[in-house]
């Protein structure tokens, strides 16, 4: 593979690979069928510290670079992207509280997650997907508290998180600038977790609606100044966008691995499939897209490690990589032929898993609008 891995990175990837293949992989098919992942399956990940990889040491994390963290998550995604995204969502939420909140808030959040718990990000609403500024959730000041009323939807880790970062309007009339962010405990009275979404893919990832009915939170739980919620959300998306791209690379690599192995074994017309030029072309294009995606993700991570906000690069990465993944996984199924369509073989799941990468974290159409907007500003 095309990156220049340091020795440390190689060792960490090998460690995660060993754990994931032995402890998680054997259960993936069953969990995918059931659409749920038992909590115990996350124990090896928590024990290894995979939920706090790039969290700074003073908050109990390992303090790895974004670059190395992304490599580890790519490896995890090869086994199951839904499992990986459960951890990504958790540490992204924590990271953003540390970045935008007070040290006390960061410590509080980190202590909970550090013990082996999940976090969620409650931004999206039924009427506010691509357009989060249109959200209707409110947070009304009441003495030293705020009372939050909101209906959130498609919340990753909705049923399993111990903490949420909830976005609601403290000033409904102010549009985007009226949104504020709050840390909310999952067991706060008034939180109603809806049913688990029966999804096409990423079925090991828990996704639910989340309703907040008169949920009372202290004013000290507001993250950042009042009205800074939208900015916080965008910063969070910058980070998570790059990380979902690394998960998509993991899915693609898995698809490529399975497809090449199959093409070498399966014989038709007296020859293994890999001897046929059209199959070769498909495999080559899959490899091209996977490698290019990996390098793009890696570069974006390095920019982030260097302090860059990656507004354009993150969008480019996410849009490009998720579009590639669609094609790569679809061709993997194609190469497997009829067997590829069967759940007995691993590739149809990869195709199902990667579709959502074109949708969430900002649909690819929105990504292109963002890129175009930045381009417009770049040229005088």
């Amino acid at each position: 593979m095309s990156l220049m891995y340091s020795n440390e990175q190689k060792e960490l990837i090998a460690l995660v690979k060993e754990m994931a293949e032995n402890e998680i992989k054997p259960f993936v098919q069953e969990c995918d069928e059931k659409g749920e992942c038992p909590r115990e399956l996350f124990k090896p990940a928590f024990d290894m510290g995979l939920h706090m990889l790039e969290i700074p040491a003073e908050y109990g994390g390992t303090g790895l670079s974004y670059e190395t963290t992304a490599m580890i998550f790519e490896e995890l995604a090869k086994v199951d992207a839904g499992y990986a995204i459960t951890l990504v969502t958790t540490f992204v939420a924590l990271r953003n509280v540390i970045l935008s909140g007070t040290p006390e808030q960061g410590k509080y959040f980190a202590d909970v997650i550090g013990k082996g718990n999940f976090a969620g990000f409650a931004l999206t609403e039924p009427n506010a997907g691509s357009d989060p500024a249109a959200m209707r959730g409110t947070a009304v000041k009441d003495g030293d508290d705020y009372i939050i009323n909101a209906s959130k939807t498609f919340i990753t880790n909705g049923a399993i998180a111990s903490l949420f970062v909830v976005f609601a309007k403290t000033k409904p009339e102010a549009g985007a600038k009226g949104i504020s962010a709050f840390i909310v405990d999952a067991d706060a009275p008034g939180i109603i977790v809806g049913n688990h979404e029966n999804k096409m893919g990423l079925r090991l990832s828990n996704t639910t609606d989340l309703t907040l009915e008169n949920v009372r939170v202290p004013a000290s739980s507001m993250v950042g100044p009042e009205g800074s919620g939208f900015k916080l959300a965008l910063n969070a998306l910058n980070l998570s966008r790059a990380f979902v791209a690394t998960l998509a690379v993991g899915i693609m690599q898995r698809a490529l691995d399975e497809a090449v192995k199959y093409a070498k074994e399966r014989k038709q017309f007296g020859e293994p499939l890999i001897k046929f030029q059209m199959v070769q072309q498909m495999l080559a294009d899959m490899a091209i897209k996977t490698e290019a995606s990996r390098v793009l993700v890696n570069n974006t991570m390095r920019l982030m490690d260097n302090g860059s906000l990656v507004r354009k690069e993150g969008s480019i990465t996410k849009a490009f990589v998720s579009d590639c993944a669609q094609e790569v996984t679809s061709n993997a199924v194609q190469i497997f032929g009829g067997y590829g369509y069967s759940k007995e073989y691993p590739v149809e799941k990869l195709m199902r898993d990667c579709k959502v990468f074109q949708i969430f974290e900002g649909a690819n159409q929105i990504q292109r609008m963002t890129i175009a907007g930045v381009l417009e500003k770049e040229y005088k």
Partner: protein, 262 residues
């Protein structure tokens, strides 16, 4: 409680193939791994440390590349690691190897518990650790499933062919662990990173001044290898392959009855 674990780096013998033409072992491309049973020993050491405090020291006798196995012990949670290496140690059989290791353990000690795996998957003798116990004059129990302290007594459950024995003894003690004893933990990311940077001290013959050099190396080994060979392959026996399973089964039983095997 101070614990020392004996670790060996071995080729992954499940991956070794035999060259069908030369009848020799093909070792290239065979990965070097921590002897699997030694990982069970490291895990036991870490569990004892979690219960009773103290330190876990890993030692390995081998060439420089054995340091990577010691790093794995560190990444799992061992506190210190030492590589025992010297040309003078080369060619040692189990008597000599166990003598050398016993001198190292004496030097680094005193230790309450000495742990190892039941056997190394290359030599397969299962003798080295129990021999260390005899050199040191400490008690030994092999095939231990678990161990704990009860006052000043150590209580172990250990396998025997007929079942499981519960045995009491006193410290210091040498214990060997097997695959079913425990599930060795994975390193943490932090542990792995730190282990890659760790200094692994080397112990040479000159660091062991009271070593009796007549007991080490080829000359100090009471056994020596006369010859080695790969297991003989024979031509395939009788193939029974008929169209349907019923006929196949019938044919097989027929032949077994004929040969008076049934």
């Amino acid at each position: 409680m101070n614990i020392v674990v004996c670790v060996k780096q071995v080729p992954d013998t499940t991956e070794i193939k035999i060259d069908p033409v030369k009848n020799t072992l093909i070792r290239e491309g065979v990965p070097s791994i921590v002897n699997p049973f030694d990982k069970n020993a490291i895990e036991q050491a870490l569990q004892l440390k979690e219960l009773y405090g103290g330190t876990v020291t890993a030692i390995s006798m081998g060439p420089n590349q054995a340091k990577s196995s010691l790093r794995i012990a560190l990444s799992m949670g061992a506190d210190k690691a030492y590589l025992v290496t010297d040309r003078a140690f080369g060619g040692s059989d189990t008597y000599a190897t166990s003598y050398i290791l016993s001198k190292v353990i004496e030097k680094l000690g005193p230790f309450d518990v000495i742990l190892g795996g039941i056997q190394a998957i290359d030599g397969d003798t299962g003798q080295t650790c129990t021999s260390i116990a005899e050199h040191m004059g400490v008690n030994r129990l092999s095939y231990v499933l678990d161990m704990k302290m009860d006052g000043d007594k150590v209580v172990v459950r250990r396998m025997v062919e007929e079942g499981v024995e519960i045995v009491e003894s006193k410290l210091p003690i040498l214990v060997t662990l097997t695959k079913v004893s425990n599930k060795p933990r994975y390193a943490t990311i932090r542990g792995k990173i730190d282990s890659l940077k760790a200094e692994i001290e080397e112990i040479h013959l000159t660091d062991l001044p009271d070593m009796d050099t007549t007991k080490i190396g080829l000359k100090g080994s009471p056994t020596r290898v006369k010859a080695t060979f790969t297991p003989k392959r024979q031509a395939c026996g009788e193939i029974i392959e008929l169209i349907n399973p019923k006929d196949t089964a019938k044919a097989l039983v027929g032949k077994l009855l004929e040969a008076k095997i049934l």
